[in-house]
Amino acid sequence: MSSDNGVPSDNAYEALSEGGDDVRWAYGTGFADPLEGVDTTVPAGTDAADLTAYCLMLGDDALIMSHRLQQWCADAPELEDEVALANIGLDLLGQARLLLSRAAAAEEAANGTGGRGPADDSDGPPRGEDRYAFFRAEHEFRNVRLAELERGDFGELIARLLVFAGWRLAVLRQLTSSRDPVLAAIAAKGVKEVSYHRDYAAQWLIRLGDGTAFSRERAQAGLAAIWPYVPELFTPHEIERRLAAAGVAADPAGLRGELDDVLAQVLPAATLEVPDLPPRAGVAGRTGRDGVHTEAMGHLLAELQSVARADPEATW
C-alpha cells in the first residue's frame, strides 16, 4: 500500500521499493498478463466458447495439480524432492496462467463483454487468470478428478504424478500442431517441462517399488488409490471431441496407448502390478470435465481462494 499524503511511511515493503514508475517492491510482484503482446485472435472456424471451455479444462488440470504439489512444500521426504516438487508445481502454475489467460481472451471474443468480472473492474490490465482461479465456484472448474484428490502419502503422490504427467505429455504433444497458434505455442513449451516431470516420477516409482518391502507396499497402494480415476483422463468431453475434429484440441481417447507404453516400461522395473480396479463413476456419467468433482475439491478451493475472496480488490 502506498502512502499518498506525503507522510513518511514506515512500511517495510515501501522501504524496499525503488520507487519511481515501478509497481514492484523488492521483487517483481506486479504481475503482467502472461499473454501480453501475443495475438490471441481465435482462428477462423473455431467456436470461441468451445475454445474458452477447452483452455479452462487444460488450465484447471494444471492449476489444481499445482496446488496439490504446493502442499508438499516443507513436507517432502528430502530437501531435493521438496525443491523438485515445488519446481514441478511452478511449471504447472505457469502453464495454468497461460491457459487461463488464453481462455479469457477467447471468452472476450465469444461474448464481446471482455474477460473481466465484477471483482476485476480496476484500471489495470484484464486479469482473467485471477478471476478464473479465485472467483469461480466448484462446479465451474473443469479439471479431471485425478488432480484434485486428497493428498496422500509420497507413494500416492508419485503414482499420481507419473500418470498425470504421462497423460498430459501425450495431450500437449498432440497440441503442438493445434490450429490455434497460442495453444500450440503453450504446448510446445509445456512438452519440454512435463517430460522432466514424467522422468522424475518414473524414476521415483521404480526406486520405491524396487526398494524395501514397505516402500513397495506404499507405491502399490498409491497406484491403487489413483487407478479408478485413470479412465476419466481418456474419456473425451463433447467439447474436446468437437474441437479435436476441428484440429484445435487433442482427443484424449486416442492417447491411452502412450501412457500404457510408459507404464509398461516403469511398472515391471518397479516390480509393481497394474491394479485391477474398476473406474470410479461420476454422477449420471458426468465427471470433472463437466464440473462434477469429489469431496476433496471443495476443501482445496476453500484454501486456494480464501485470500483473494477475503479482499477482492487487493492487488499483489
Binding site: E18, G20, D21, D22, V23, R24, Y27, G28, T29, G30, F31, A32, P34, L35, E36, G37, V38, E80, D81, V83, A84, A86, N87, I88, L90, D91, L92, L93, G94, Q95, R97, L98, L169, A170, R173, P181, V182, A184, A185, I186, A188, K189, G190, V191, K192, E193, S195, Y196, R198, D199, Y200, A202, Q203, I206, E258, D261, V262, Q265, V266, A269
Partner: protein
C-alpha cells in the same frame, strides 16, 4: 538523433539488463531478448519466457522498463513472444563462458525434436556433465530440479564439490 540511432541505443540499453536469477548473464546472453524496436521515442521490447512458470519473467519485464526509462525512453512496452519456444540452445557462446566462470555447468545441445512419443529417461543423463570446478566428467546427477526451474543439481566425484547445471530444454 536519427530514428535508427535511437533504436540502436534502445537495443544497447536493453542488452545491458541482466537475468535476476543468473546475474552474470544479460537477457541477450540468455537468448530471451527477441527484439527491440523504437518509434518516435516509444520502445517495444519482445522477450520470451524460459520456463512458463518462471517468476523471473516479471522481474525482467520491470528491469527492462526501468532501464529504458532511466535512459530517457518515456514509453516502453514489453511484449511476450511464445513462438518459437525458448531453448537452452539460444544461450550465446559468451553466455556459456560466463556460466562456466561462475561455477555453473552450461547446457549441452538440447534434445532434438522427436516425432512420436517422447522417450522416457530412466537412467543417468545421456551425456556427462563436466564439473565446472575441476573439469572432471565423473559427476553425478543429484536432482533434475534445483533452486530455479532452469537448473539441476550435481556433484563431482573427483573434487567432491556440488555444482549446478543449466539443464537442457
Amino acid at each position: 538523433m536519427s530514428g535508427t540511432g535511437r533504436t540502436v541505443t534502445a537495443r544497447a540499453v536493453a542488452e545491458t539488463v541482466t537475468d535476476p536469477e543468473l546475474p552474470m548473464l544479460t537477457l541477450a546472453d540468455l537468448g530471451v531478448l527477441r527484439e527491440v524496436a523504437e518509434h518516435d521515442g516509444a520502445v517495444t521490447v519482445s522477450i520470451t519466457p524460459t520456463y512458463t512458470g518462471c517468476p523471473a519473467l516479471d522481474a525482467m519485464r520491470d528491469d527492462l522498463v526501468h532501464a529504458l526509462h532511466q535512459a530517457g525512453f518515456g514509453k516502453v512496452e514489453v511484449r511476450t513472444v511464445l513462438r518459437p519456444a525458448w531453448s537452452t540452445d539460444w544461450i550465446s557462446a559468451a553466455g556459456r563462458r560466463k556460466l562456466a566462470a561462475a561455477g555453473i555447468a552450461p547446457p549441452a545441445g538440447a534434445a532434438r525434436p522427436v516425432t512420436g512419443p517422447i522417450p522416457l529417461t530412466l537412467g543417468p543423463p545421456p551425456h556427462p556433465v563436466r564439473c565446472p570446478h575441476c573439469g572432471s566428467a565423473r559427476t553425478r546427477l543429484m536432482s533434475a530440479f534445483s533452486a530455479t526451474a532452469c537448473r539441476s543439481l550435481h556433484r563431482c566425484e573427483a573434487c567432491q564439490e556440488p555444482f549446478e547445471h543449466v539443464k537442457e530444454i
